[in-house]
Amino acid sequence: MNDTLVRELVPQVIGVLVRRGADFATAEDAVQEALVEAVRAWPEDPPRDPKAWLVTVGWRKFLDAVRSDASRRQREELVEAEPAPGPVHDVDDTLQLYFLCAHPSLSPAAAVALTLRAVGGLTTRQIAEAYLVPEATMAQRISRAKRSLNGVRFDEPGDVGTVVRVLYLVFNEGYSGDVDLSAEAIRVTRQLAQLTDHPEVTGLLALMLLVHARRPARLDASGALVPLAEQDRTRWDTVLITEGVGILQLALARDQLGEFQAQAAIAALHADARRAADTDWVQIVEWYDELVALTASPVARLNRAVAVGEADGARAGLADLAELDPALPRYDAVAAYLHERAGNTATAAERYAAAARVAPNIPERDHLTRQAARLNARLRS
């Protein structure tokens, strides 16, 4: 069974059921049940037309659900009303699913889970494994999310901005267990880019491709983090880079800059440099200026301080850093990096050790501890 193909069918099949009169919450459950059955049945007995199979089984599951909690008459009305499945509204319906699953009334965690299931076509078990929570917990999170959408009309106008933020959250989770969330986020964003012509959707897709291209170089053979400047750039995926740069250029040509396009432009400048020393830091600082103007994000300003440190020297970077809140995530790590470049080895070692204590994850903690150890060893010799 081709998993990717099946996952792409899931939002379309939900769309068909909703068009036939099913409510979103029940239709989504029914298609999930059909999906679980497909995973079981298809390896032995693959259907000729997978979409028709999912529609038939999904509709039957839906009727079962309705039968169990509604009147027989209502069910008959629905059967009567059943129109032939057709391509007419497919695109619009699938796009509506994106909007619904990323509805602003949902918490980010709920929107992420619902998007992965109804749009991404993942099973509850896969989503639970990816986020390291029990399957029952994830099932509950999804059904609560759907209940809170009860009053929302399926065809309500949506905002692409909320959708791209949800997809970016998924992308940043990386991968744990057997589900590669970054790859899933790229796949779902590609689908979205086919449904809508929004420059931030293409900007996000370009950003994801350009960042994903560096993944083979991000960890060394022992699993330790390798910082950008030290990565073996021959291991970057040039096919993804070429595609990402091409998509970004099309988006930028439309002259409606947004935060994801700006971030993608920065990623593209890194991708352009065959050696770390060739990086065009001056242009990167300019893009960070755009990003700060667009978002006023303190994280963007922190990253800008690193870029300034490269473009204008570590002291200039430290001067910028002094204007930011030391409580920002990774502030100590940036300070340590800039102090080392400025020649303040002892201060840098202390800041690396402090950064390790507040690191957000174990690979970063280990990396920062190693940096502190490296500088302390230099100070001893």
Binding site: V358, T369, A373, N376, A377
Partner: protein, 135 residues
Amino acid sequence: MAKYLMLKHYQGAPASVNNIPMDQWEPDEVTAHIHYMRDFADRLKTTGEYVSEQALSPEGQWVRYDGEGRPPVTDGPFAETKDLIAGWMIIDVDSYDRAVELAGELSAAPGAGGKPIHEWLEVRPFYGVTATASE
């Protein structure tokens, strides 16, 4: 089989023999330590004795209820390393002796100078299930 918690904390335990903070080690020694820990978990997965492990960030606060309609009281953070719980591993093994043996191996993880840390670990049994035949 019985489940045991191997808890790494610094509450009341004597100092470990090789008690030098990690950022004072040689970088290679840090790497060797990380590999030892990872290989230890991998080995228990192959023997069918591994359940789970977690590491905790050192940041934290004390929190308690402060009465109806009032927000909870927080206190701290207490960054005192002597109070710190660093993390744990849960194993499912045949006997208490096996749990002690494994905790000994984990405590032998290499530290400064490549020598074992001799770190103290607390081994605690989980309450077992109610055996169906014990009524």
